[in-house]
């Protein structure tokens, strides 16, 4: 099973072959700082200690949009 990750506003999507992963680990995999992104599941922001499980979809919203 996989976890789907969308990175916005970059418009990038990736699929992780993982059963579960913490937000903190996901941010590290993406090479980001925990201060530079908010991870959202549905409409709810997640804490860095929260776990994302297989079959779930999350959005990593980069803090600086470059707007």
């Amino acid at each position: 099973m996989t976890i789907k990750v969308r990175v916005t506003p970059r418009g990038q999507t990736l699929t992780l072959e993982q059963n579960r992963i913490t937000v903190k680990r996901l941010i590290a995999i993406l090479g980001l700082s925990i201060e530079s992104a908010v991870v959202v599941r549905g409409e709810e922001p997640l804490l860095e200690t929260d776990e994302i499980r297989e079959g779930e979809e999350v959005t990593v919203v980069l803090v600086a949009s470059g707007g």
């Binding site: 506003p9 700082s33 922001p45």
Partner: protein, 326 residues
């Protein structure tokens, strides 16, 4: 089973503020930010005299959050708020921003909202076309035009201050840039409140001075306000400000509270410093501030269109203000 709970109500926490060692649910997080902004307004005396603020709202997260927060504090602080949006003529990006601003104003039932289009003032051109014609970067022309038109609008509504959505990260990123590349004198303008010049320029207030950029994004998401979170099509590949923000975020991650301490240290460092920018004169065409007797806007537009368009901008904005009252 969730283990992290809101400090105030015990509901599931959705925000963890490491520098404050505080876990909060959505509702208490919004209240926390509103209270933080109120404290900033009082601590730095951001609002004085008439309490009339021209809030510059672009449709991005920071200025939209600023608008929402100030609207929440409006009665308590006895604020009079005038919303000002400038459509920069950046294609669909600007159209989306305008829609977001109008939706936000409608959601808050916020009036007046003054919307000015760059293309109305510059004959058929948006900011990118003007930048191309003067041979300068779009960002530099955009900044100059925005500052000019915001000041014109604020003067016309007799605002006490122009409130902008600059957050802690913005301020520190500019400060570092000025420090590294020269231009320290411009850092004096990066304080929570920059005083105006009698009859020439309106003061600037930055109520989100102690709110991190990540906090404004969280507020925008949790409050469900309309905002545009997209890259400007004209942004440079990787700006110095962006590199500085990355560095500051790594520092904050390693030592929570670093950005806030640095912002406060910066304020105490520059408080009382004299500006070295020199004498400011009234532009001979439009009466706005200038260093040489002709303001940047009138100089740019004279070069491109053969006449200074400052007076036209002043007339258009005054007409928009009248229109917004009807």
């Amino acid at each position: 089973m969730y283990s992290v709970r809101c400090k105030y109500c015990g509901k599931r926490a959705v925000v963890s503020l490491r520098y404050a060692m505080l876990n909060l649910c959505g509702e208490h997080y919004l209240n926390y930010i509103i209270s933080k902004v109120e404290k900033t307004i009082k601590r730095y005396r951001l609002v004085e005299r008439s309490k009339r603020l021209l809030v510059a709202v672009s449709g991005g997260k920071d200025s939209s959050v600023l608008t929402h927060v100030l609207w929440s504090l409006k009665s308590k602080l006895d604020l009079e708020i005038v919303l000002f949006h400038l459509h920069l003529g950046l294609g669909e990006y600007s159209n989306k921003q305008e829609r977001a601003v109008r939706e936000l104003a409608s959601l808050l039932a916020a009036r007046p909202l003054i919307v000015v289009y760059a293309r109305e003032i510059l004959p058929g051109d948006g900011i990118p076309e003007l930048a191309l014609k003067v041979g300068r970067s779009t960002c530099s022309v955009c900044g100059a035009v925005k500052r000019y038109l915001m000041n014109v609008a604020a003067m016309a509504v007799r605002a006490d201050a122009i409130a902008t959505g600059h957050n802690t990260d913005d301020i520190l990123a500019y400060f570092l840039k000025n420090l590294v590349f020269g231009g320290e004198e411009y850092s004096l303008k990066l304080t929570p409140r920059t005083e105006g010049l009698d009859g020439l320029a309106i003061a600037r207030a930055r109520p989100l001075y102690e709110v991190y950029e990540r906090e404004t994004l969280l507020y925008a998401i949790l409050s469900k306000i309309p905002f545009v979170h997209e890259e400007c099509p004209f942004r440079p590949e990787r700006s110095i400000e962006e590199v500085n923000k990355d560095y500051l975020n790594r520092l904050e991650e390693r030592a929570p509270g670093s950005k806030l301490r640095l912002a406060r240290r910066f304020v105490s460092m520059v408080t009382g410093s004299e500006s070295t920018i020199g004498e400011v004169l009234a532009c001979r065409y439009c009466g706005m501030p200038s260093r040489s007797g002709v303001c940047t806007f009138c100089r740019l537009t004279s070069r491109v269109y053969g006449e200074p368009l400052g007076p036209k901008a002043v007339d258009i904005i005054k007409a928009k203000i009248l229109e917004s009252k009807t």
